[in-house]
Amino acid sequence: MPPPDGPFRPADDPIRPAPAGTVRIEVAGEPVQGVAGQTIAGILLAGGRLAWRRSRTGRPRGVFCGIGVCFDCLVVVNGLRDVRACQRRAADGDRVEFQEDDRG
């Protein structure tokens, strides 16, 4: 059992995932590295980012449902808007941007 107040290291993981490759993407112009097979939401959350969108009245939004139902986690991927970050697996070279123009 991992220490509850320390980071969760792969070595502590009881299900013992195989060592995974990396995936390299760009988030708002910055290079970011993730674990191969991770979703874009997974990479953002793992990097400590909880919110990346604003609702119509400017309230912060990130992942809520995690299964593609709520559409809170939308991002721009390679120039294409309204991609659900929790559903899209990151691919090497993906350019992820935040969409800020949802405000009415």
Partner: protein, 472 residues
């Protein structure tokens, strides 16, 4: 229009019910196409790490994992079963007296240039599952508040804990596996709060408890989660709820309160707890949009009506799993086996029929023990956002209800923009129905009507109506 593929049995949804239906239809000798939106089978229940990252002990996070793997491998190896992964059903065209045409886009979620395909099934099995329902509370739209299902999906599918110190709250047995997954992903679970009180729980679980023995597998699974609560010293409280989340840009604390049997917060029982994440879930809602679009009749509770052979009211359209009422994995598999057999023109296996009866009884208990009680609305103040897509507050909904009296959903949506956002009311629909219900504005299930099952890109909509040899 792309020429439709003729297919004896088309199954939509690759979770437990859809997989079981596909297997049963194959055993019945029919060719099967199984369409699944994600890039692997298993559904939300058997959500797991991707192929790039195989785990040695994935079974620690799952019940029935080895059984799932066997069924999955059988389906993928079977040349008579075409498993279409990344298949997003976006519309169905009704046809009189037979199953509808089914239009699918194949490709990455929300991608551009996905390939259109159309299927003309002799029998159609819908196994589209359910999504979680989370009751709104002040601050529930702060980052750091997740559905319980999101915590589960991120833990199982990515090995990410949604927070370091997490409170799990809501109602229903699903909260327990979520707490178990969180502690196995390195989080500290500050507690599990079940809104149902001891009386409600006992009425659901306590009457005729011997019937539970017949559902032993399920009871055993729950016992495992209860052992986890003890092993990890996770406090479990009944008749308790998160009634507010606090923070500016993210959750920093929550207020929890004791609840009356009707789920009203008991004045003076409020307590503040410091957490960095909340996982809230109050049961599940069947994902009925395709069934509704196909013309299937619903029950008063919004689930799809079926007969003993899992047949819906539309000839040739069968329904399996959570669509017929929330019942869990065992019921979903039993219904899938029956539906797949009937779709193949065979008699359903007697064991599946017996299992279905037992697990339906179990599901009825769950529904009674954890049913949402109307007092929840008293913790929703007028400033609480109900529709997260359009930031429509409870106050706006209540004033519209007071001003306009009994009017339709359409005028309500146009007045408030509620349920007009991208999620099309999936997240807030049932809560809206309950807030407006007393004013006679909305009946249960009304917000589940959606002409397009998923948002489409205009280019794809245009392309899918053009004949193209390359798309077949």
């Amino acid at each position: 229009m792309a020429e439709p593929h003729q297919v004896p049995v088309l199954v939509i949804g690759g979770g437990p019910a859809g997989m079981a239906a596909a297997r049963a239809a194959r055993r019945g000798g029919r060719r099967v196409v199984l369409v699944e939106a994600s890039d692997d089978l298993g559904g939300q229940y058997w959500r797991h790490l991707p192929a790039e990252r195989p785990a040695a002990r994935e079974d620690l996070l799952h019940h029935g994992w080895h059984w799932f793997r066997r069924m999955r491998d059988d389906l993928l190896r079977d040349p008579g079963c075409d498993v279409v992964l990344g298949g997003h059903v976006w519309s169905v065209d009704r046809r009189d007296g037979r199953p509808p045409l089914v239009h699918v886009l194949v490709g990455a979620p929300d991608g551009a240039g996905r390939l259109p395909r159309a299927y003309e099934p002799t029998a159609l099995v819908l196994a589209t599952g359910a999504h979680e329902r989370t009751l709104p509370f002040p601050g529930w739209d702060l980052p750091g508040v997740f559905t319980a299902g999101a915590a589960q999906a991120l833990a199982k599918g990515e090995r990410i804990a949604v927070g370091r110190r997490v409170l799990v709250a809501g109602s229903g047995p699903f909260l327990l596996p979520v707490a178990s997954s969180l502690v196995r992903t390195g989080a500290l679970v500050a507690g599990v709060l079940e809104a149902a009180g001891p009386g409600q729980l006992a009425r659901g679980w306590g009457s005729r408890p011997w019937r539970l023995l017949a559902a032993q597998a399920k009871a055993g699974e729950l016992a495992g989660y209860v052992r986890d609560l003890a092993a990890y010293r996770i406090p479990y409280r009944t008749a308790a709820a998160v009634v507010a989340a606090h923070g500016t840009d993210r959750v920093e604390a929550v207020t929890v309160a004791r609840l009356t049997p009707d789920w009203r917060p008991v004045p003076g029982s409020e307590r503040r707890i410091v957490v960095d994440a909340v996982c809230a879930g109050h049961g599940f809602v069947p994902r009925t949009e395709l069934a509704i679009a196909a013309g299937c009749a619903l029950r008063a509770d919004g689930s799809v009506r079926v007969d003993d052979g899992q047949r819906s009211s539309v000839p040739g359209v069968l329904i399996a799993g959570e669509l017929t009422g929330i019942g869990g994995v065992d019921l979903a598999v039993a219904e899938g086996l029956v539906a797949g057999s009937v779709a193949a023109g065979r008699t359903p296996p007697p064991a599946a029929v017996r299992g279905r009866a037992v697990f339906r009884e179990f599901a009825a208990r769950l529904a009674a023990a954890h049913a949402i009680r109307p007092g929840w609305q008293s913790w929703v103040d007028d400033r609480t956002v109900v529709c997260r897509c359009e930031d429509v507050t409870a106050g706006e909904l209540r004033s519209v209800a007071a001003l306009t009296g009994s009017r339709g959903l359409r005028s309500l949506k146009l007045t408030t923009r509620a349920a007009l956002g991208l999620c099309q009311g999936r997240t807030c629909g049932r809560s809206m129905e309950e807030i407006l219900g007393p004013a006679g504005l909305l009946d249960a299930g009304r917000t589940a009507h959606r002409p397009l099952a998923i948002p489409l890109r205009l280019g794809e909509l245009a392309a899918s109506t053009v004949v193209g040899e390359d798309v077949r």
